[in-house]
Amino acid sequence: MIKHTTLIFAALFLTTIVLLAVAAPMLPLVDPVKMDILGRMAGPSLAHPLGQDEYGRDVLSRIAFGARASLGVALTGAILAALVGVTLGLVGAYFQGWAEQATMRPLDVILSFPPMLLALLAVTLMGPGVQTLSVILALLFAPTYARVTFGEVLTVRNQEYIEAAKALGHRPTRILARTILPNVAGPILVQFSLVVAAGIVLESGLSFLGLGVVPPTPSWGLMVRGARPFMEANPLGLIWPCVALVLTVFSINRICDAMRDLFDPKASAAVLPVSRLLAGTGIGRSRARPAAPAAFDGTLLDIRHLSTEISTPRGTIRAIDGVSLQVKPGEAVALVGESGSGKSMTGLSVMQLLPRKVGRIADGEVWYASRDGQRTDLAHVPANLFRRFRGREMAMVFQEPMASLNPVYTVGFQLIEALTAHGQMTKRDAWDGARRMLERVGIPDPERRLNEYPHQLSGGMRQRVAIAIALCGDPSLIIADEPTTALDVTIQAQILDLLEEIQAAAGIGLVFITHNLGVVAEIADRVVVMYCGQVIEEGPVDDIFHNPRHPYTRGLLASVPRPEDMAGQHKRLSSIPGTVPSPLALPPGCRFAPRCDHATSACVVAVPELEAVSANQNTRCIRWKEI
């Protein structure tokens, strides 16, 4: 709310100041240099709405003409700087090599001067005055333009439309002017406004020192300078030019911020209206805790009708919708689906690691059997108590090992951190423990690796470290979220083997999240297929692979390349037609119906229930018997 008010104010104020500056000579203002000794430091009157200064000159008139001087100098300087800087930046970034050296290096030298100093140096050589000021501004701000342009051009120069223009045989100058320039215009425009603001500040500063605009030409800086010795007798004379300066600079900066948000929505400070929505959720969740179910003896993890909501700028989406699944101790369950199916969200919901502030469990229960035999509904454990489970009872391995390890700490530090998260131990013990962990995940020369940083390891090695971190608390359940996706194919197999081996050896329950069915066959005991936030089929791995009931599962299986399909003359890989629907606009009835070959009018009436196909297999399709 504040944001919009200030933006409107800024726009209005700036318009007024610009109009005042442009129209100053035409307005019925008193001559700004006409002195009136009798009216020295007089307060506001009808003839002089803002009062008179130390020489009896009209303050309003001097503000208006001062705006003319300030804006004039700042604009001239900004335009000059833009011409020089943008040209150098364009040339340097487009041609690179020696052109880059020739254009960008000298600018770096300018940037290594504190700006005010360079300005003073120039004043010494050229004498004070408006021309000097414009030249100084051009000199000072050309490098920033050049840098911005350089950076922007580098990001667009290798893009396809530039390649296309080159391929068409256009000359570099034409490509630069017609194709690249329009694409970098946004950031440059922002830069331009910032330079105007900085120019006003610099001009007024120099004028205040008596080294800028030469009297009697009015300037805001000079007005402050003149009024300063008389501030006791006439504080208003000081305050008016200060207010004009501050508000003008503020308005330009404010409009710049708005422009930047417009050109670069990612950098925007705009806020998701989420925190308030979620503020009340604590109340909803503190309802009577359901009693522990007795029926599921022997399950480690029992998720029941779990729903998770994510707030997005376009509305709240249900990332997972009524998901139920069970994991027994020592069992490996694969959670399969396309991107956006809710499989990762399921894992994060169990661990209470949903994106801060935007994600929350809306409904359902997550029963977990601790080592001591106690059952807890994790969905209703308050955040501050949840730490007891993370790391110790359950651990998680993530997709991208480079990103999931902190680059500024050694491998050893990050392992020891995990080892000591739930209890103190001596330095020696912790170090030994960390070394044993690395040995366990098959890292050669662990002693040396403990002292290395993540960026010094290979991708596969990093993922082994991530697995070692997960194992530190000796967990009963590991949730592995696409742990092999980011790795080379040969490394993938090694990591899979490692996970399988660890899981078998320690009797750990494993939830393996993946979109790769080939991986599933290797590691999983049971498979849960998700689509649009729902479980659409689940069962033992053999049943799912050999006897899939849901058309989506069949489609997924058919899209896995198999050697026998590739051998004959009809080399083709089938794919599922269409795309996953937006979670903001889910189809009525069966969510897969729009992409399903077998869909009938009955399919779109209601969301199908999960039906038992056999003792172990369930599917969410009303036509599973027929197809």
Binding site: I2, V109, S112, F113, P114, L117, L118, L120, L121, T124, L125, G127, V201, S204, G205, F208, L209, G210, L211, G221, V224, R228, M231, E232, L238, I239, C242, L245, V246, V249, F250, N253, R254, D257, V271, V274, S275, L353, K357, N384, R387, R390, G391, R392, A395, M396, A403, S404, L405, N406, P407, V408, Y409, E417, A418, A421, H455, A466, C472, G473
Partner: protein, 316 residues
């Protein structure tokens, strides 16, 4: 080791370039330098005085020779004599420089003490009322020219409330308490512009690092939320904050000009402004050279600290 060596070489090269640029500036400007320097006040200087000036500046010798002796001179720390009183410039700089440095350091300290927690609070309560308020305050603070802040502070605290003196300087050894009182307002004026910079940088980098995957890993380990925040968010966001802070401290070395003028602080800048007014070129040259040296040194320090904070840089 390699990293440090490379940074030092870059710094030396930059210094050399700066010294050359300062030397050339006098010759790049169209017209006879001696005549320009003497033509203050619109009065044409007499040919004799121009000739005397040329000899005094060594302008009568070949350019290359001038350049050589200039480099040799500054390498030994001799910055020449002032036009105004013939005093060695280096001596006066050494007296005044610590005062300016003190001002910059005090302002930086205030800015970090206020800006860091404020930025952290705003980032953690992103989108809340506090965040909105602090962010607006920051954009406003950034919009006030430093001499306006100083002048208004004097108007408020010295003229109206009469709490602190309007300006001046007392030596620390003479009276430490008074010294600090005189330091307060100039440092605060600089801080008004620097706090928003620290605030914005801290806020932005905390927000960025909060979303990092290693933060999720740290939570998954079962670490205390406070530990996650300190070790995996704040620790990582120090690198960009230090970089920006260093850059701004360098800019401040020049930025104190206005503050020292407003508060009558006898630092380097008072000397500089007077030298500019008098067109005392050797003095201006010397001061600019020294400030640039500090500027380069600060940048070097920032690079080295960066290397300590981020191991990836060290092993590049």
């Amino acid at each position: 080791m390699h990293y440090i060596l490379r940074r030092c070489m870059t710094a030396t090269a930059t210094l050399f370039a700066v010294a050359t640029l300062i030397f050339l500036l006098l010759h790049i400007v169209p017209g006879d330098p001696a005549e320009i320097l003497l033509s203050g006040g619109g009065v044409a200087p007499s040919p004799e005085s121009v000739e005397a000036m040329r000899v005094q500046l060594g302008l009568d010798r070949p350019l290359l020779e001038q350049y050589g002796s200039y480099l040799a001179r500054i390498a030994t720390g001799d910055l020449g004599q002032s036009f105004q009183d013939g005093f060695p410039i280096a001596t006066e700089i050494i007296t005044r420089l610590p005062r300016t440095l003190e001002l910059v350091l005090a302002a930086t300290l205030i800015s970090v003490i206020i800006g860091l927690p404020a930025g952290l609070a705003a980032a953690l309560k992103r989108g809340g009322a506090l965040d909105g308020f602090l962010s607006s305050l920051a954009s406003f603070g950034l919009s006030i020219p430093i001499f306006v802040t100083g002048t208004l502070l004097i108007l408020l605290f010295s003229q109206t409330l009469r709490i602190v003196p309007a300006g001046g300087y007392v030596d620390f050894l003479e009276s430490p308490a008074e010294h600090v009182i005189y330091l307060l307002m100039p440092a605060a004026s600089i801080a008004v512009g620097l706090i928003p910079v620290v605030f914005r940088m801290v806020r932005a980098s905390i927000l960025e690092f909060l979303e990092k995957e290693w933060v999720r890993t740290a939570r998954a380990k079962g670490l205390l939320e406070r530990t996650v925040l300190i070790r995996h968010v704040i620790r990582n966001s120090l690198s960009p904050v230090v970089t920006v802070l260093g850059l701004h401290m360098g800019t401040l070395l020049g930025g104190t000009v206005l503050v020292e003028y407003v508060f009558n602080w006898p630092g380097l800048s008072g000397m500089l402004v007077r030298a500019v007014e008098q067109r005392d070129y050797p003095a201006v040259q010397g001061i600019v050279l020294v400030i640039c040296l500090l500027f380069v040194l600060i940048n070097l320090a920032v690079d080295l600290i960066y290397g300590i904070l981020d191991p990836r840089v060290r092993y590049e």
